[in-house]
């Protein structure tokens, strides 16, 4: 058995450390008066995020209930045949080939652009709100399909968000112009030459003329034809994600002539770049016209040039 040498002073040192620790504890009692150790702001921030998350979940649940109720109450007319549509895309975040089918009442699909064309207002916010509200119900089939996929794959709050945004970003860009504007297809914009071809083109050079109001397709039209530029996409995302209970807004910039999505999240997304909404909340920016991560600010103008249209 190994024998140890008797080192003197072990007890004295241990005794000293013990009393030093007692003194340290006593000193903490006084230190705390200065509040240097306890970070109350961190606690508040954490619970604010938690509360936002819970509220979001709660909204999602109640929205599901509302949607269920609305579907039960407002079944498609017995005589209205439904048309089946399929979206196929490669998820830019996972690289996975995705496919999703949804049903839309044929008469609603045929009249998809009528409501838009009859809108008589120049207020962009009002246009967004009315189009979104008008198309929320016809898009129920699509929202239900998204929800079913999210549920079957057990996606959480953030994964579901990436899944839906990825589906939008994967669609090739089509420039949409209103009549009477400075530009008409074919034209060059931002060093890209757009053709006079109002189709979804893989080379992203499709362009549509005379789309009223504000060069904007309605969310239902986007779901059916997949044609759309920045604001058509943000409005579509606003409608679909809003139906799923996400706290989102549309962020526009006159200086950039551009529209992007703003997503409020309990946790910072991507690089954490955000624009404050009218409600004071942080909305993490998300470009929808091309595969792009959230929270990454890459625009030339300053963040101050952006404003939240909806919230």
């Amino acid at each position: 058995m190994k024998r140890r040498q008797k080192n003197p002073g072990y007890f004295s040192k241990g005794n000293l450390i013990f009393w030093a620790l007692i003194l340290l504890w006593i000193s903490i009692q006084f230190l705390h008066l200065l509040d240097p150790l306890f970070d109350e702001a961190r606690v508040t921030e954490k619970f604010r995020k938690l509360e936002a998350q819970e509220r979001l979940e709660s909204n999602l649940d109640s929205l599901r209930q509302i949607v269920r109720d609305s579907i039960e109450k407002k079944q498609p007319e017995p005589g209205c045949p439904v048309a089946r549509y399929t979206w196929k895309w490669q998820d830019p975040f996972t690289g996975r080939n995705e496919s999703m089918s949804f049903e839309i009442c044929e008469s609603e699909a045929q009249n998809a652009g009528n409501f838009r064309k009859n809108l008589r207002t120049a207020d962009l916010r009002e246009i967004y709100i009315r189009m979104s509200e008008s198309d929320a119900l016809p898009l129920n089939g699509m929202v239900q399909s998204f929800r079913a996929t999210i549920k079957s794959r057990g996606m959480g709050y953030e994964k579901a968000l990436f899944f839906i945004v990825g589906a939008i970003q994967a669609i090739p860009y089509t420039l949409v112009l209103q009549g009477g504007g400075p530009l008409r297809c074919p034209c060059t914009l931002g060093q890209v030459y757009y053709l006079a071809d109002c189709r979804v083109r893989a080379d992203r050079r499709g362009c549509c003329n005379d789309i009223e109001p504000a060069g904007l397709f309605s969310p239902l039209e986007f779901a059916l034809h997949k044609k759309g530029d920045c604001d058509t996409r943000t409005l579509f995302a606003y409608t679909v994600l809003g139906s799923l209970g996400y706290d989102i807004t549309i962020l526009n910039s006159d200086a950039e002539g551009h529209s992007i999505l703003g997503v409020h999240s309990p946790r910072a997304l991507g690089n954490g770049d955000y624009i404050r909404g009218k409600n004071g909340r942080k909305y993490y920016i998300w470009e929808l016209t091309a595969p792009s991560p959230p929270g990454v600010y890459t625009y030339n103008s300053s963040k101050d040039s952006w404003f939240s249209v909806m919230k």
């Binding site: 007890f11 013990f18 504890w25 009692q29 819970e54």
Partner: protein, 306 residues
């Protein structure tokens, strides 16, 4: 003060030692005794805080806290006192191995020893062992002792972590109450949430006492959030307070090879040795008697009155 009495230290054991050495010994055991008192007080205070969070009743919390404090005191004392023994030294081998202790004198040599001779032999043996102990320059730990020590250390560290949290809840009670108020405001729009209803709602009978929360786990969560990594440092300080006395009883030769331990071991061995000699002498007496007398006939002899 005689804090050493908490450890059951008997001053009379040190009567054969030098007064200066005796005073030094008592100082060490006084310190150890005081450490136990402080640890028990920490457990007492911390238990009160936890119990207040549950019951918000000071009298009930104080009574149960006292009970827990006393339990910790006794458990802690048990752990320390059982660590202070002579098994680490040469003397311990004689104490645990009686064959070795008694080998100098066999049954034949113990025959016919009278009381005076036995006492003299005991004194001689103890004196020889004392000389041996004083010359012993080292100490040792075997694997079993190490394992026992580690288990004790783990138990005390776990205790310390629990009681450290209680102390922190008390020390940071004002900050915690401020944080609870802020959380109430965050959840103001959702008064039916669990945080408001389950944790931050005042008890039905009377209000909060000390900490404005009804859930121990919620309060600990908020404390951890508020303190961040600092909590680990504060916890470690309390763990240190709890385990240092135990480490001292394991590692400090000034305790485990102290005059008190030596004299206590010698005293116990002296008693064993004395009874061994007495027993051997008595065995020899009975053996002689058996050989010279027909004990069977004696047993069969009627003892009935004539």
């Amino acid at each position: 003060m005689a804090w050493h009495l908490n450890l059951g230290i008997d001053k009379r054991v040190l009567r054969n030692t030098d007064p200066a050495e005796r005073d030094a010994e008592l100082f060490k055991f006084n310190m150890l005794g005081l450490m136990i008192i402080l640890v028990a007080l920490i457990a007492f205070g911390s238990s009160i805080v936890f119990l207040l969070l549950i019951s918000h009743n000071l009298v009930l919390s104080a009574c149960l806290g006292l009970l827990i404090g006393l339990m910790v005191f006794n458990l802690y004392r048990l752990m320390l006192v059982t660590s202070i023994n002579a098994y680490h030294t040469e003397l311990g081998e004689f104490q645990s191995d009686h064959e070795r202790l008694f080998k100098h004198i066999g049954p034949a040599q113990a025959a016919g020893l009278d009381e005076e001779t036995i006492q003299e032999l005991v004194l001689q043996r103890i004196s020889a062992l004392r000389s041996l102990a004083l010359e012993d320059k080292g100490y040792r730990h075997d694997n079993a002792q190490m394992a026992t020590f580690l288990i004790k250390l783990l138990i005390l560290a776990l205790f310390a972590l629990v009681f450290a949290t209680g102390l922190e809840l008390f020390v940071f009670r004002n900050q915690l109450n401020g944080a609870f108020e802020a959380i109430r405001q965050v959840y103001a729009a959702r008064p039916d949430s669990w945080i408001i209803q389950g944790a931050l709602r005042p008890p039905d009978a009377g209000g909060f006492f000390l900490i404005e929360c009804q859930s121990v786990l919620f309060a600990i969560d908020v404390l951890k959030l508020g303190l961040g990594p600092v909590k680990i440092l504060i916890d470690l300080a309390v763990v240190g307070i709890f385990v240092i006395p135990l480490i001292l009883t394991y590692r400090s030769y000034e305790l485990i090879d102290s005059a008190y331990v030596r004299e206590q071991a010698l005293q116990e061995m002296g008693i064993s040795y004395y009874h061994y000699l007495k027993t051997q002498a008595f065995c020899h007496q009975i053996g002689t008697q058996c050989a010279s007398e027909d004990l069977h006939a004696r047993l069969n002899k009627s003892t009935a009155p004539a």
